[in-house]
């Protein structure tokens, strides 16, 4: 079913995770997740400690934000973040590195899970855990199974199908045991006794390592998957691992499963066993011209420029700085934007690789149709959006598109398919929302 095979370019697969020194100042946006932005609960001039809650979740689909450093709140101002939009952020000047006392900073691995499933969900909410695969959906929402639905299997995403990125790969190699305990915690929270980890075939060492470790845990199995983009997309992964198909417009819970990322599992382990909120993550900094690419453990709010500095400085020939993977990531206009919870990698593309092909008329080759993982017709969706025929686009299931970019990648005519599909998708979602509001009013 669809998919493309971009060059893997996993340059940093063999480089161990290094800890990036704490910067002198951080900028922490209050919206690092999907849903309602958190409300700031600190004031200018306040002293904060590492791991202290500085913004509180507002509503169910929202998440807490914690300080990643200790120091003084400089100001609360708007900043352009990795999404390219302005949003409120907390500026903190770093002073030492004093952690909140309740966080267990020892290296000891705690296997016993003492919390009950309700307590685990509460801890995830409290610790600001969000999906670290890139979508940053608040994890406590996914762990709360609504009444009338049931979950019988947990799926763990260790695919990392994006080219260049290796943060999940390294995490599995170095923190495999913690990840597996995290998975056990998630299993307990969801009350399931089976979990499957999917890993792409290009990470044989990770598959071997995780299979060996998983032997010591009940109900967890590791499965090797074909190398294909987008293998790590939720619906594709479910189909590949347990052969269930999520219907159009539905969620994995509708086929009785829940998908979490390996990075999230590790964060859950730290939150539940070590009482450590989510304020740092592994980020891959990579690019063909970089002198020193690598995987770094980075505090959220660190400017991306600091990360580039650590990797050997911005190469001369950089054409684009991409936040995320080269397929789904977004180019940033300013290297000073902060690392957020969803930043899985920074890719520096050389100038000659970052230019778009000349746009030519559609030649009806249907390559976009054959690579679409969701069986859509990208050429048609593009035309419909371009001409403003949003009703028809909705009928053609434009909202199913997960924006993987395979269509634009494969198009021999260089057509900006995804650009227009994204526009159409956002417009259709807006129209649908307005319709719901109208129905409620009448």
């Amino acid at each position: 079913m669809g998919g493309v095979h971009p060059p893997e370019n996993k340059l940093t697969a063999g480089i161990p995770i290094q800890v990036l020194p704490v910067p002198t100042a951080v900028v922490i946006p209050v919206s690092q997740h999907i849903g309602v932005p958190a409300t700031v609960i600190v004031n200018k001039g306040d002293k904060v400690k590492t791991g202290q809650k500085i913004a509180e979740s507002k509503g169910f689909v929202s998440s807490n934000i914690h300080s990643s450093v200790s120091g003084k709140v400089n100001r609360i101002d708007s900043v352009i973040d990795t999404s390219g939009y302005k949003q409120t952020a907390i500026f903190i000047d770093v002073d030492g590195d004093e952690w909140v006392e309740t966080i267990d900073r020892s290296d000891e691995i705690i296997v016993d899970i003492r919390l009950t499933s309700e307590e685990i969900v509460k801890r995830c909410l409290e610790s600001g855990i969000v999906g670290l695969g890139g979508a940053t959906f608040p994890s406590h929402v996914k762990l709360t199974v609504p009444s009338g639905k049931k979950c019988d299997i947990l799926i763990i995403n260790g695919v990392e199908c994006e080219p260049y990125l290796t943060s999940d790969h390294r995490l599995m190699m170095e923190r495999g045991e913690e990840i597996l305990i995290g998975i056990s915690i998630l299993m307990k929270a969801l009350n399931v006794n089976m979990a499957r980890i999917g890993i792409e075939n290009n990470k044989l060492d990770a598959i071997e390592h995780m299979t060996k470790l998983a032997g010591g845990f009940q109900g967890i199995t590791v499965h090797a998957l074909k190398v294909k983009y987008p293998q790590g997309a939720e619906k594709q992964l479910i189909k590949a691992l347990i052969n269930r198909e999520v219907p159009s417009g539905r969620l994995p819970l509708d086929v009785n499963c829940v998908v979490h990322n390996v990075g999230t599992s590790f964060a859950v382990y730290e939150a539940v066993q070590k009482n450590k909120p989510l304020f740092e993550r592994v980020v891959t900094i990579t690019g063909k011209s970089l002198t020193n690419p690598g995987n770094y453990l980075v505090r959220t709010g660190t400017p991306i420029s600091k990360l580039i500095e650590a990797a050997g400085g911005l190469p001369e020939d950089t054409g684009k700085i991409i936040c995320g993977g080269p397929m789904m990531g977004k180019a940033i206009s300013n290297p000073d934007v902060p690392v957020v919870k969803g930043t899985s990698g920074i890719v520096l593309l050389p100038r000659d690789e970052s230019v778009r092909a000349e746009v030519n008329p559609c030649i009806r080759c249907a390559k976009c149709v054959s690579v679409c993982a969701l069986n859509l017709e990208p050429y048609l969706l593009m035309t419909l959006s371009e001409r403003g025929m949003f009703e028809k686009a909705e009928h053609e299931r434009i909202t199913d598109c997960m924006e993987c970019g395979s269509c634009s990648y494969t198009c021999p005519a260089g057509r900006p398919l995804l650009d227009y599909i994204r526009l159409g998708k956002s417009t259709v979602i807006k129209i649908a929302r307005e319709r719901v509001v109208k129905q409620k009013v009448s």
Binding site: A331, S333, N334, R356, Y420
Partner: protein, 291 residues
């Protein structure tokens, strides 16, 4: 042989007569009354079908005119007072005198004033940039420069100026149908009251940021310093969301605010050049950009 022809003619004639009678009664029974005035009114409308009146087309608008009690909310921007007067005459009503309007771009962010800080290479469509990020410059309110408004204009009243990267509106061609206003994802095109000799004074800025960031993004941004507000004697200027706005219905074109504006974000157009005496008094000179 002749009898066959005769029989054919007679039988076919009878059949035709029979059908005609049925059709006559059916037509009587199901007759839909249509006001003949709709056709009359439609004939005086410009047949541009631009949608500027808010209806799907001229026919639709004609129906609305015939149905309407009065013409208060109805206006054909293309035809203007002349066409509305004719329509009113047919329908025996009085058309209120609507002010003629013209589209105005509330942004003057040329590359000289508002340098690009990033480079967008995706599909040339303002709507896409607007859903993607803040735009190629640091101003997240101003013109995106990909010409959605120009493509929407059905009267060739707009074109993109390649030097400034901004759309230009020809006052004599613009009929204020509002298509560009709807097409602009940033809502920076306004329909303003037309004045004598196409004279205009307006704040050519839409930046709602505070003074500092606005000025850093663009040299001619409105910084909401309220100098224009203080100098205006006619209450025509309001300041809201860090942005000054001049009400075209109250403005008397005294041009005091233009001279007062420290960032030159207030633009005066189609005025004769100022007398040199004014300059001698130390008032900032303001050049009139050519359009």
């Amino acid at each position: 042989m002749s009898s066959i022809v005769l029989i054919t003619i007679i039988s076919l004639s009878l059949l035709a007569l029979f059908s005609a009678i049925i059709l006559y009664f059916v037509a009587r029974k199901f007759k839909v009354f249509e006001d003949p005035r709709i056709d009359e009114v439609q004939n005086v409308l410009p047949a541009a079908n631009c949608g500027g009146c808010g209806f799907a087309g001229c026919r639709n608008f004609a129906e609305a005119l015939v149905r309407a009690e009065n013409f208060e909310d109805l206006n054909c921007p293309v035809g203007g007072a002349g066409v509305m007067g004719q329509a009113a005459k047919i329908l025996g009503k009085v058309a209120p005198v609507a002010d003629p309007l013209v589209a105005v771009l509330l942004c003057n962010g040329t590359p000289e004033f508002r340098p690009n800080t990033s480079n967008y290479d995706g599909a040339p469509d303002c709507r896409i940039i607007n859903t993607l990020y803040g735009g190629e410059t640091d101003c997240s309110f101003g013109c995106l420069g990909k010409g959605d408004c120009v493509r929407a204009c059905k009267f060739s009243a707009m074109y993109m100026d390649l030097n400034t990267g901004l759309p230009v509106i020809s006052d004599d061609k613009c009929i204020a149908c509002g298509a560009c206003v709807k097409a602009c994802p940033r809502n920076i095109i306004e329909l303003r009251k037309k004045a004598k000799k196409d004279r205009k004074i307006y704040v050519a800025c839409s930046n709602c940021d505070k003074g500092g960031p606005a000025r850093r993004a663009c040299k001619v941004a409105c910084i909401a310093c309220s100098k224009c507000f203080k100098v205006c004697e006619f209450d025509a200027i309001t300041i809201e969301n860090n942005l000054a706005y001049i009400d075209a219905t109250k403005c008397t074109f005294c041009r005091k605010c233009v001279a007062e504006c420290p960032t030159n974000s207030i633009i005066e157009l189609n005025f004769p050049p100022r007398k040199p005496k004014v300059e001698a008094q130390g008032v900032t000179t303001v050049t009139t950009p050519d359009v």
